[in-house]
C-alpha cells in the first residue's frame, strides 16, 4: 500500500510539474499575473508530492519491504538502521528520487522566500525549475520506477553494496546532489533573464546566494567523496582523476568561476553575458555529471553496474536542456545591456583572469574525460587518459591562478594599482619565499615542485590573511580600533578570507602528500617488523572477528616510535555475507605530521600476508582545507547585505524568510 502511495505521489508530482512548467510561461507570454502566480503553489505542491514519494520509499527501506524490487536488490534486514536509510539513495532509482526531491526543495524555497522577486521573474524561474522536474520525473516514472513490485517477494534482500555501508558515503550523495541541483537555480535564473531580456544587479544578488550554497554543498560533497575513497578503498590515494571524480569536479570548477563572475555583476553590473553563459554551463556540467555516473559509458573505478538504456534517457534530457538553453542564449543574450568599463588591472580584471583560468582548466579536464569517448565513437580505438595527462595540463593552469588569488581582493573596483597591492602583500611574499627556501634546503634533491608548492600554499594563506590585516589596520592602529574594525568588517570579507585561506591549506596538504608520501608493499609473517617514516611496525598476526552483517579477518600491528609505544592498528578484510563480497578496511593512525596507513592483503602460501604500508604526510589538510572553504561560504551567506537585501528591496535573499505576497 505504501509503495502504491509513493508511486501515485510521483505521478501527481509529474502532473504538477507539467502545470508548473506551462501555466506560468503562458502567463508570462500573455502578461496574465494570475497565471504567473500559479507557479508558487505548484512548486510547493511538487515538493509535497515528491516528499511523500521519498518518505514512502524510506519507509519501505526501514521496514525491509522486500516485495519492492528496489528494496530487495539493495537492502538486507540485518543492516544497521543508518545504512537502511542511506540505502534509499545508494542505488540508481532511489538516488534519482533524491535528485528530484532536492530540486523540488530549491524550487519551493524560491516560491516561499521569493516574495520580493518581481512576479514575472519568479514565474519564469519556477517554470524553468518545473521543466527540469518534469523531465526527471518522466524519467523516473517511465524508466526508473523505484516502486516496482516483485512477486513472489523474497524472504531476504541482497544487501547494499558493502563499500557503500559507510558513514561518509551515507552523506556524500545528498551533498553532491544538493550541489549539482543547487546550480539549477542559477540555470533557471539565467534562462528567466534571457526570456525576460534583462538582468541587473538585483538579479545577480538573487543568484549569488544560491550559487554560494550550491558551491558549498558541492565542495563538501566532493571532499567527502575523496575522503571516503581515501580510507575505505585501501588504495592510499585521495584523488585518481577518474571520470566519475572528474564529473563532480567540473561543475565545481565552473561553479567557482560563476561565484566570482556573479560578484562582478552584482557590484558593477559587468560581465552579464558571460555570467549567464557560465550559469548555463555549470548546470550543464552538473547534468553531464549525472549522466556520466548513471550511464556507465566511461571506464571508471568508481562505477557500478548500470543499465545503458537509462543512460540514453538522461542523455536526451541533457541534450534538450543544454541545447535549448544555449539556443536561447544565442538568440537573446545580445539584448542584455553591457556593463561599465574597467581597466585590466582592477578587481574586475582579476576576476576575469580567475574566470579565464578556471574555465580553461575545466575545459582541459573536460577534454581528458570525454576524449576517450569521442575517439571511440569516431575511430573505434579504445584509449584511456590517466593522471599524467591531468597533471600535465591542469596543474600548470592552476599555478598562475593560485599566485593571482591574493591580488584579487587587494585591488579596488574599476581601476587598480598593482604596485600598491604588491606592497601590501610584501609580508606574505617574504613568508612564502622563506618557506620555499627552507623546504628546498631541507629537502635537498627532491622533486622541485615541492618547495614551489609549499611556497604557493604559504603565499595563499598569508596573502589572504594580509587582506583582513590591511582592512582592520592591524599593527598600524591602536588595538581598540583594530578590534572595532574587525567587528565591523562585513562577513563577506571573512568569507573571502576563509575560502582563500582554506584553498591554501588544501594546496599544502596536496603538495606535501604528493611529494613526500612513502609506500612499501611487503610480505609479512607474524613477528615481522617494518620501518616506515620513523615508525616501527610489528605485525602481531591476524584474528577473526564478527560484525553485525559481516565477518572479518583483522591484522594487528603494534606501532612504536623510538622507545615509546604509539598505537595499535587493525586493518581488516571483511567478508559480507549478503553479497559474498570482500572489502578492505584500512588501519589508519592520524597524527599532525601525517597518516600512517596500513592495508591487509591476501594470505600467502607460506602463511604470511601481503601488506601495504603508507605514510601520507599532511594528507588531512586536504579535507580540513575543504572544510575551511565551506566555512567561508557560510560566512559569505550570513553577510548583512544578503540578510537585509540592501540597497534595493527587490533583492532579498533566501536566508531571510519573507512572507509571500
Amino acid at each position: 500500500m505504501i509503495a502504491e502511495t509513493g508511486h501515485f505521489a510521483l505521478i501527481l508530482a509529474l502532473v504538477v510539474a507539467l502545470a508548473q512548467m506551462t501555466l506560468p510561461l503562458w502567463g508570462a507570454w500573455r502578461d496574465a499575473p494570475l497565471l504567473m502566480r500559479v507557479a508558487t503553489p505548484a512548486a510547493q505542491a511538487q515538493l509535497g508530492f515528491v516528499a511523500i514519494a521519498f518518505a514512502c520509499l524510506t519507509v519501505a527501506y526501514v521496514t525491509s519491504d522486500f516485495s519492492l524490487q528496489n528494496v530487495a536488490n539493495n537492502s538486507h534486514s540485518a543492516k544497521p538502521l543508518i545504512y537502511k536509510i542511506s540505502g534509499v539513495w545508494g542505488n540508481h532509482e532511489g538516488s534519482m528520487v533524491l535528485w528530484v526531491l532536492i530540486l523540488a526543495l530549491f524550487g519551493s524555497a524560491v516560491a516561499s522566500f521569493g516574495g520580493k522577486l518581481p512576479n514575472r521573474l519568479r514565474a519564469l524561474v519556477l517554470a524553468c525549475q518545473g521543466a527540469i522536474g518534469f523531465a526527471f520525473l518522466t524519467f523516473i516514472v517511465i524508466a526508473s520506477n523505484p516502486f516496482t513490485r516483485l512477486s513472489p517477494a523474497p524472504f531476504e534482500g541482497q544487501g547494499l553494496n558493502p563499500i557503500l555501508q559507510d558513514p561518509a558515503l551515507a552523506f556524500h550523495p545528498p551533498l553532491l546532489y544538493a550541489g549539482y541541483v543547487g546550480f539549477s537555480m542559477a540555470f533557471s535564473f539565467a534562462v528567466a533573464a534571457l526570456i525576460d531580456g534583462k538582468a541587473d544587479a538585483a538579479w545577480a544578488r538573487w543568484v549569488r546566494p544560491w550559487t554560494v550554497a550550491a558551491w558549498m554543498c558541492l565542495t563538501l560533497g566532493v571532499a567527502m567523496g575523496s575522503w571516503w575513497a581515501y580510507y575505505e578503498l585501501g588504495w592510499g590515494g585521495w584523488w585518481f582523476w577518474d571520470p566519475v571524480e572528474n564529473a563532480s569536479f567540473m561543475p565545481w570548477l565552473s561553479g567557482t568561476a560563476l561565484l566570482h563572475s556573479a560578484l562582478v555583476m552584482e557590484k558593477r553590473e559587468g560581465l552579464k553575458i558571460w555570467t549567464i553563459l557560465l550559469a548555463i554551463l555549470t548546470f550543464s556540467l552538473s547534468l553531464m555529471g549525472t549522466f556520466l555516473v548513471r550511464s556507465g559509458v566511461l571506464t571508471s573505478v568508481h562505477a557500478f553496474a548500470v543499465d545503458p538504456a537509462r543512460g540514453v534517457f538522461v542523455l536526451a534530457i541533457m541534450g534538450v536542456f543544454i541545447g535549448g538553453a544555449l539556443a536561447l542564449y544565442a538568440w537573446r543574450a545580445p539584448l542584455l545591456r553591457q556593463g561599465d568599463l574597467f581597466a585590466p588591472i582592477s578587481r574586475e580584471g582579476s576576476l576575469v583572469l580567475n574566470n579565464l583560468l578556471l574555465t580553461t582548466a575545466c575545459a582541459t579536464v573536460f577534454i581528458g574525460t570525454l576524449y576517450p569517448l569521442a575517439l571511440e565513437s569516431l575511430t573505434g580505438a579504445k584509449i584511456s587518459v590517466g593522471a599524467p595527462y591531468f597533471n600535465a595540463t591542469f596543474v600548470p593552469l592552476m599555478i598562475p591562478l593560485l599566485i593571482a588569488v591574493p591580488f584579487g581582493p587587494m585591488l579596488p573596483w574599476k581601476r587598480g594599482d598593482l604596485a600598491g597591492a604588491a606592497q601590501r602583500l610584501l609580508l606574505a611574499a617574504l613568508l612564502a619565499a622563506a618557506a620555499l627556501i627552507a623546504v628546498a634546503s631541507f629537502q635537498g634533491r627532491g622533486p622541485w615542485m615541492a618547495p614551489v608548492g609549499v611556497g604557493i600554499a604559504i603565499w595563499l594563506m598569508a596573502g589572504s590573511a594580509s587582506e583582513i590585516g590591511f582592512r582592520v589596520k592591524a599593527f598600524r592602529a591602536p588595538w581598540g580600533e583594530v578590534a572595532r574594525r574587525a567587528v565591523n568588517l562585513p562577513r563577506a570579507a571573512y568569507g573571502t578570507f576563509l575560502a582563500h585561506f582554506g584553498l591554501g591549506v588544501m594546496v599544502l596538504g596536496i603538495v606535501a602528500t604528493t611529494a613526500w608520501r612513502t609506500e612499501t608493499i611487503l610480505a609479512m609473517k607474524p613477528g615481522d617488523e617494518a620501518n616506515l617514516a620513523g615508525y616501527r611496525l610489528v605485525f602481531k598476526g591476524v584474528a577473526p572477528a564478527q560484525g553485525p552483517n559481516y565477518r572479518e579477518l583483522v591484522g594487528l600491528f603494534d606501532v612504536s616510535q623510538g622507545a615509546s609505544h604509539v598505537t595499535r592498528l587493525a586493518p581488516s578484510k571483511r567478508q559480507y555475507q549478503a553479497r559474498k563480497m570482500t572489502t578492505t578496511e584500512a588501519g589508519i593512525y592520524a597524527s599532525w605530521s601525517g597518516d600512517l596507513y596500513t592495508v591487509l592483503g591476501d594470505r600467502l602460501e607460506d602463511g604470511g600476508f601481503s601488506v601495504r604500508l603508507y605514510f601520507n604526510p599532511l594528507v588531512r589538510l586536504i579535507w580540513i582545507g575543504a572544510l575551511i572553504m565551506f566555512a567561508g561560504g557560510l560566512a559569505s551567506l550570513s553577510d548583512r547585505r544578503l540578510r537585509i537585501g540592501a540597497p534595493r528591496r527587490a533583492a532579498d535573499a533566501a536566508s531571510a524568510p519573507a512572507p509571500a505576497e
Binding site: 553494496n161 563499500i163 578503498l233 585501501g234 588504495w235 556507465g296 559509458v297 566511461l298 571506464t299 573505478v301 568508481h302 562505477a303 557500478f304 553496474a305 548500470v306 553591457q338 568599463l341 574597467f342 581597466a343 585590466p344 576575469v352 583572469l353 579565464l356 583560468l357 580553461t360 582548466a361 575545459a363 582541459t364 577534454i367 581528458g368 576524449y371 580505438a381 579504445k382 584509449i383 584511456s384 587518459v385 590517466g386 599524467p388 595527462y389 600535465a392 595540463t393 600548470p396 593552469l397 608493499i521 611487503l522 610480505a523 578484510k573 553479497r579 563480497m581 570482500t582 572489502t583 578492505t584 592495508v599 592483503g601 591476501d602 600467502l604 602460501e605 601481503s610 601495504r612
Partner: protein, 153 residues
Amino acid sequence: MTRKKRRGVLIAAALGVLGLAAALVLIAMEDSIVFFQSPSDVASKAMAPGKRFRLGGLVSEGSLQRGQGTQVRFAVTDNAHTVRVVYSGLLPDLFREGQGVVSEGALDASGVFVADTVLAKHDETYMPPEVAASLKEQGVWRGGSGKAVQKAP
C-alpha cells in the same frame, strides 16, 4: 580605455590562455594516452615490449598463482587468446577468476605482461565497457549478468 580596447585586451588574454592550454593538452595527449587491448589484439598486433597499454579481459580460471613475496601471476583471456600477467602488489577485493579485469603495464621481452596497476571496481557485477565490448566481439559475454558464458559451438 575604450570598450573596444578593453575587448582587445580581453580577447588577447583569452587567446593566450587558451593557446597555452591547447599546447599543454596536445603535449600531454601525445605522452600519456594509453590504448586498450584485448588478448586477441595483443596476439594479432605484435605489441612492442615496453609499450604501455591496458589489457582487459577475463581472469582465466585456475590461472592465479602466488609467487614469492607479494608477486602474483595470472592470465587474462578473451577465450580466443590468453596473455600471462605478472603483478607485484595487492590485488583489489573484487579480483576473481572468471571475472572481468583491466590492468595497465607493458609486455616484457618474453611476452609476459608486467602490470603495475590492476584496476579495482566497486561492484561485482560491473564490467568495464571496453572489456564488455571486446568480450561481446568474441561472443563470450552477453551483458547483463556480468558473468561470462560458454562460447557457442
